[in-house]
Amino acid sequence: MTTAARNKNAKIPAIEKLRFLIIDDFESFRLSMRQILRSLGAEHIEVCGNGATALQRCTYENFDVVLCDFNLGTGKNGQHVLEELRHRKLIKCTSLFIMVTAETSKEMVMGAREHQPDAYLSKPINQAMMAQRMSALILQRTTLAPINREIELENFPAAVSLCVQMLPQQPRYKTWILKTLSDLYFRMGDFNHARQVCEDVLQVRDIPWARLGLANTYIAEQRYDEASSILQSLIANQPDYVEAYDAFARSLAAQGKLAAAQRILERAAERSPHAILRQQQLARIASDNQDIAAASQAWRRTIELGKHSIHDSATHYLELARSLSELCEDDESEHGQALASEASTTLLALQRRFKEDQNACTRAALIQARVHAGQQQTGDAEALLEGVLPADPVNTMETDVSLELAQTLYALKRSSEAEAILAELAQRHTDEPDIQHKIEALLDEPVSFKKKMSARQLNKQGIAAFEQDNPEAAAKAFREALTFVPNHAALNLNLIQVRLSQGAGKPGTKEWIQECKGCIEALNSLPDGHRQYKRFRTLKAKVEALSDDS
């Protein structure tokens, strides 16, 4: 039962067969780490001083153990290296990635959305520590290698049976095996078994990862209320468990509670500001929630974090520029000008960084044209548009570029061209609800963010007035809203419904019918796949019947 003090010069068995890579920006650390590993019996040891070189090395050579300092000076940090190694599959599942940090805790790397290192080693590191950790980790690697090999081959059922078999034999790796088991069931879509693993753990003890795992199975089965209540109490008990916030936000967003999801993600991003995927998610949710200012801020952070990250993408730049262009449209104040100029800078940066991405560059030009238009620089806007406008847009452009084009045409008051493009797109993508939604949104509200918001506010007021039996006030609100978005389907139909409710034969009926006809006219080009189409047909028939009567 007793472990005697170990012989500090003991070599680790089989270590000579392993290939080591040491990544540290300080030469003295590289040297001393190499020396320590040598004294433990390691023979294949490579060193390098920055992330980019490390990634290159790993492209050509397979390493069994990577010891990487978190802080690598300028350029990529240890987390970037880890994510890129795993993302590009430059190291195997069976390899060990050890993050070396000067931090006591995992605070810098805390809450990385994906890819955790196999172990942390905190500086200063001495020989005895390294000997102890290395032999423990190598033993772990060897013991668990059969499971990891099956996972690498995506042979999940085999990995599951190995886990089940090893669980009673390996108390040392119990936590790892249980987490892996639950994760494997989850990845196979067997949520019942995944949940069972977590529930068994929770029977013995309230363990945060098992609570999170449990909630994730409920989310996967769309049992959002159950998931949310688990996650709410988990966050209350473990306010620094950032992954729980991510799951909670997912659950809330899936229920359409966008504002709540946004707030949760904001709290998570505050605690763990370095995870790019979380910032990206926050930006998307804020954007869906129409909180454009918050979305812009999150896109800014995403771009900043993307500089050295494998997750960097042209989309981040486009989305920031789109948000900024909405914020500054028709705002020529100093503030508006500053936002417009930030949008331009962002788009320029995109065109430099992603110059091979033709689609992104075309979209960038189209957004830039809108920025000009929003600052009343119509000449510049038109010139930019002409530079990228093909003869037959829909047949030569990708769908997302065509949608961007339609939006820019609207901004330049070339509505009929925009509508033609949207109609053609709608026909082409009848079975793709995502694209249909985007088309509808543009057809309904081809105007600036602020006008859209005013119209929505008025629509709300109109509905409230109507519910309070005040049809005149309702009609007034809807009419005013329609001055912002004349072709908005729901608004036009709401106005018709008010007028119809006021009934025929009363003074003013004639004018009302006239007004209704105007609304029908505005919706004449409504595509039959529009969600309001059925309602449009019904109300149109009623209006026609009324006009026949009178």
Binding site: M1, T2, T3, A4, A5, K8, S28, Q35, A102, T104, S105, K106, K123, P124, N126, Q127, A128, M129, A131, Q132, R133, A136, P171, R172, Y173, K174, T175, R205, D206, I207, P208, N237, Q238, P239, D240, Y241, G256, K257, L258, A259, A260, R263, N289, Q290, D291, A293, H335, E440, M453, R456, N459, K460, E467, A490, L493, N494, Q497, R531, Q532, R535
Partner: protein, 256 residues
């Protein structure tokens, strides 16, 4: 009347429409910026000092390799190493306390294999133990325990450092299960804890007496970490006494 749901979801959040830079939010943050958050400044300074000391320790290890055995094993060189290690440890505790207090750090409890955990904590101190000619022994069954490894490692780190200072020849690290608790203990064969420290065990900052040096800080941190561990109505605690198998000071942390 229909709310056209997806097209008409209003910004649910009231703060949304316009956050102009001249708005009240901007003014409030300027006010906050002019107030000095002293604990945060201290924490970041401590963080920086701790990293510097880490560098210092590393350089000392390197230097040690270049020195003659005589100098390397000299009392002065060991004192240099020990004192640096001690300040490094103190700063770690300060940061830990800051995080528990200000960032409402909670224990992230997982199941760990106790022998591996203890060995890796002791390994960090091997150069010091060797330097002071102190022998050590880890006694534990092959058991698993539930605790936050980062936090408990911080506690043991400080206690071991302290034991190295006050012991004569030997330090013993033991783990056992007792009354639904996992008990980790560090025993030495030194003079034991002073009576006043045993009477007045530091569970609250108000009862701390800094005149005895960093020991009190370490114990306060240990008891804060112990109390973050809860299970089935039991809370963790620490316990100090003199005597034990080595007839010196004994520190125990009881984790439910």
């Amino acid at each position: 009347m229909t709310h056209d749901e997806s097209e008409h979801n209003e910004p649910e959040d009231k703060k949304v429409p316009s956050r102009s830079p001249t708005g009240s939010a901007a003014r409030a943050s300027t006010d906050a910026a002019t107030r000095i958050d002293f604990s945060m400044i201290l924490a970041s300074a401590v963080h920086d000092m701790k990293n510097s000391l880490g560098m210092l320790l590393h350089t000392m290890d390197e230097l040690g390799a270049e020195l003659s055995d005589e100098v390397r094993e000299s009392k002065k060189f060991n004192t240099l190493r020990y004192e640096t290690e001690r300040v490094h440890g103190d700063l770690l505790q300060l940061l830990g306390l800051y995080r528990i207090d200000v960032e409402s750090l909670t224990a992230n409890i997982e199941e760990h294999f106790v022998p591996d955990f203890l060995e890796s904590q002791v390994a960090r101190h091997v150069p010091l133990l060797d330097g002071h000619n102190i022998t050590h022994q880890i006694s534990t069954e092959d058991i698993n325990g539930f605790f936050d490894a980062d936090l408990v490692a911080g506690v043991l780190n400080n206690i071991l450092n302290n034991a190295i200072r006050y012991t004569k020849t030997h330090v013993e690290i033991e783990a056992r299960q007792q009354d639904d608790f996992l008990v980790l203990s560090v025993a030495d064969d030194g003079e034991g804890y002073p009576a006043q420290m045993l009477d007045n065990q530091p569970t609250h900052p108000g009862t701390m007496n800094f005149s005895t040096g960093s020991t009190q800080l370490g114990l306060y941190f240990a008891s804060a970490v112990a109390r973050l561990h809860e299970n089935a109505g039991n809370a963790g605690r620490i316990c100090l006494y003199n005597g034990g198998r080595l007839n010196g000071g004994v520190f125990e942390i009881w984790l439910p």
